[in-house]
Symmetry: C2
């Protein structure tokens, strides 16, 4: 592995939480990386509609998929954490229907579509694991539809923090009750379909109720049980069981 590709182990860890990944498959995956680049916070990583030749793996930092409406409203569809294959979807869609943006400074690995195609031809099990990774995105997005469509503002935000906590734990980026999350309240609002002002009010309530504190890009969970109940959080949709796929 090129030394700068460190962080790829997080992507492997994410898969290993769901199935066995052989040494050889790990090698094939790591070898498929053609390049590693850094991108500053706030920059666009992939623009909707652009013709794609590479997919990306988020090695470090936070990114998101999002769409805008004509009046300037933005909706974040999924927040990505280290280890996520962000636009593996682009491999077969050929162009993305949404933008991918850097929420913090990020480091990403590029994987040529040609290498992915190769994997589908010669490494069917690894191909199924990559397919699985895209299905996990879909599952996360479905839970997001539920949140935005039916949960109260408070529950939406609580749910988001629960989900990120668990996903970051899988990537090895959280000890028990704390994690870094360098997002603004506006980002949270764009993810949860609310306004920044109302997010602020709900964050205050979460603090006052002693459920969690989000300040200075850091989340501190005070009462995980009550937080999960407030969010009606059930981690089943993250499919955290190791099974043959």
């Amino acid at each position: 592995m090129a030394p700068e590709a460190q962080g790829l182990d997080r992507a492997i860890a994410k898969l290993r939480a769901r199935d066995i990944v052989s040494e050889e498959e790990e090698k094939v995956f790591v070898a498929s990386v053609s390049d590693v680049v850094e991108i500053a916070a706030g920059r666009t990583i992939v623009r909707a509609g652009a013709s794609l030749t590479h997919s990306t793996v988020l090695l470090d930092g936070f990114a998101c998929r999002y769409k805008d409406l004509a009046d300037g409203q933005r909706q974040i569809q999924e927040i990505h954490v280290a280890g996520d294959c962000m636009d593996l979807h682009g491999f077969l869609l050929k162009s993305l229907d949404h933008h991918v943006g850097a929420l913090s400074g990020v480091r990403i690995a590029l994987i040529p579509h040609e290498a992915l195609r190769e994997i589908t031809e010669n490494h069917p099990h690894l191909a199924r694991l990559l397919w699985f990774a895209t299905l996990l995105d879909a599952s996360i997005q479905r839970e997001h539809v539920l949140s935005v469509g039916r949960r109260s503002a408070l529950a939406r935000i609580a749910h988001l923090f629960c989900e990120l906590h668990l996903r970051l734990q899988v990537a090895g980026e959280s000890n028990g009750t704390t994690y870094r999350l360098p997002l603004t309240q506006t980002d949270i609002a764009d993810a949860s379909g609310l306004t920044a002002v109302h997010v602020n009010r709900m964050l205050k309530k979460l603090r006052d109720d002693d459920l969690l504190t989000f300040r200075g890009g850091e989340v501190v969970i005070h009462d995980r049980d009550r937080l999960e109940r407030a969010a009606e959080f059930d981690p089943a949709y993250l499919h955290l069981e190791r099974r043959p796929r």
Copy 2:
């Protein structure tokens, strides 16, 4: 093809709208069907969490994926039309995180996971097409997040009707401006994250504005242009281009 498997051609048509499907691939796909069953309106087709051995293709009728909250609120995450591979996701997830229900009477084909695995081992291009089909679901669900999170009630409903119109045209189930849609206003509400009462008000407004009429399970579009503008509908996310995948 078993005669009762008619309707599978709609699934093939859906793929052929996006890439070339060879005669042999079609044969392999059709041969993978082990059974065809009918299910009455309102019944559950797959329950969340159940252990799965088959995936399903919707041959006829309308179905949906949905989740419920504890207080009884329901959120439909995607409406499926004839030709959709509904829980191809279950092939690799092994158990679904959501329910699949029949919105009308439906006919579905069952495909054993074993046959799908076989396809990933021996027919990589066909496997990529099936992967693509699941990515299309993800894309539709992302647009759904945008709708529910940011569009007004009127735009949400207008968008839903635009999307279904186009998807039904691909399946050969709509002439120019009309299509069958045997859903109740409550179903529309559950899909769009609104209440049935408010859906009713918005449908009245769509009628009064002469954009479309939805009555008796039939949609009549009066002014497609203005409807699309009201919905801010852009079909790019349906990826209707025939390209090598």
